[in-house]
């Protein structure tokens, strides 16, 4: 069979499907009428993205100003010029994707999984290029402190980001949670770069970058559990004991 023939069969089958009854349509119209009032559309995508990047920057700077800018002080000009612009670009990309996740029918430029991979790979490349100290003193004990610090800053960044976009509607909550987590994770990495003066390559490559995937996974897990809870409460409403 040719494609044209299959098209024809599908179109004929499509035409055979019934229409909604006028009574159903009238019922829908009547159901929305009482609450029909003007609504304020969401701001433009770039304005929301800018807001998200500002949130990340604010959380990173606030965290570092409390803990100290030791990392920034120790960095050379090349490191500053590569690391922070890379973080801003990745945060803009993640912010833009988060905005699109919260607006149904938006064009998707990159999938949440690809965003996570790209963010981690880009940071790996930048850190591997800049840091050549391959010693591993106190690799785990110091590393865990950095990881926890990064995650502790990722949480408020992701929460504020969600608050900013709370009027949006995520048609795929798990994807949206993952992207919000990645965005928060980038804020956490930003804070670590400003604060942490341990420039051992292994430390940076493992513990600093691990904040991004762990935060992304946590975001997806939270979204999944919220959806699961919503489903459970719907089930309880439907089948009360």
């Amino acid at each position: 069979m040719k494609n044209e023939e299959i098209n024809d069969v599908l179109e004929k089958a499509g035409r055979a499907l019934p229409d909604p009854s006028p009574a159903t349509l009238q019922r829908i119209a009547d159901s929305i009428k009482p609450s029909l009032r003007p609504v304020r559309p969401l701001p433009t995508a770039w304005a929301m993205t800018a807001g998200l990047v500002m949130i990340c920057a604010t959380v990173s700077l606030a965290g570092a100003s409390r803990a100290g800018f030791f990392g920034l002080e120790k960095m050379g000009i090349l490191e500053r010029l590569l690391i922070f612009p890379a973080l801003v670009i990745l945060a803009w990309l993640a912010g833009s994707e988060f905005v699109h996740e919260m607006i149904p029918g938006s064009r998707r430029r990159i999938s949440p999984g690809a965003l996570l991979g790209l963010s981690s790979a880009a940071l790996l490349a930048v850190f591997a290029l800049l840091f050549r100290d391959y010693q591993t003193h106190h690799f785990i004990s110091i590393g865990i402190v950095c990881l926890l610090t990064g995650l502790l800053h990722a949480i408020p960044a992701a929460l504020f980001a969600w608050l900013l976009l709370r009027r949006g509607f995520a048609v795929n909550p798990i994807s949206a949670g993952l992207v919000a987590g990645v965005l928060g994770g980038l804020a956490g990495v930003g804070m670590l770069e400003l604060h942490c003066a341990n420039f051992q390559a292994a430390h940076m490559l493992v513990w600093h970058i691990a904040v991004v995937p762990l935060s992304g996974a946590a975001g997806a897990l939270v979204a999944w559990s919220l959806r699961f809870r919503a489903g459970s409460s719907a089930r309880e409403r439907t089948n009360p004991k």
Partner: protein, 217 residues
């Protein structure tokens, strides 16, 4: 008195031609150049006439979308109403510069997935789900007398089925389908290509079209 809800012509809402039964009213736009995007903007401003026009123009497509996804008529009607309640709740998320149809379909997909997830948990149970899954992927024995879209698309996985429904029944573009399904245009093309390959294999295997005078034209 509320505005009457007018049904759009069948198969392609963008073409105002052809009325084929008595219950269907002729679509009369409230202004000559009104399209879905303009109607959405007016709906956001609280215009009831625009809301009823939108309901009349998009509901037939949305109902067909649900019916093509193996929903019963009663389920499809429920899903349609649920979709409109959701659309009404989140109407502020539509942006005037964007195409409206993918926005509607994205919400319809969400409602469909959410509905089945809840119904599986509440009533069907695991056994029934397995039965449904087998049924959905089963190859129909004969196509000769088949006219239903659901049966035609039954051999396809759900993701390919919805892409074919949007492209060939709703008449959406690749870009619109990509937006509605939160995927890339390349991914939509790939799904459509695979779906056509599968449909061709199934139709050839079952001898579909042989001896049919008007079936394939």
């Amino acid at each position: 008195m509320g505005a009457r809800v007018h049904l759009a012509p069948k198969n392609n809402l963008r073409e105002h031609t052809g009325i084929d039964n008595d219950c269907r009213k002729v679509f009369e736009p409230m202004c000559p150049d009104s399209n879905l995007e303009i109607l959405m903007a007016r709906y956001q401003q609280g215009d009831y006439g625009a809301a009823t026009d939108l309901i009349g123009r998009t509901s037939p497509q949305l109902l067909r979308f649900f019916l093509a996804q193996s929903a019963s008529r009663a389920d499809a009607d429920d899903l349609l109403q649920e979709t409109w309640l959701r659309i009404h709740k989140v109407r502020h998320t539509y942006r005037a510069s964007e195409p409206a149809l993918p926005w509607f379909y994205a919400i319809a997909r969400y409602v469909r997935v959410d509905h089945y997830r809840k119904s599986v948990r509440t009533t069907l149970g695991t056994t029934k789900l397995e039965a449904m899954s087998k049924e959905a992927t089963a190859v129909p024995g004969k196509f000769d007398h088949v006219e239903s879209l659901e049966t035609l698309l039954a051999p396809l996985p759900e993701s390919q089925r919805e892409v074919i429904e949007m492209l060939k029944v709703a008449g959406m573009s690749l870009e619109e389908v990509a937006r509605a399904t939160s995927s890339s245009v390349g991914s939509v093309k790939q799904k459509a290509h695979r779906a056509y390959t599968k449909l061709r294999e199934t139709m050839n295997a079952t001898g579909f079209g042989k001896g049919q005078s008007g079936g394939l034209s």
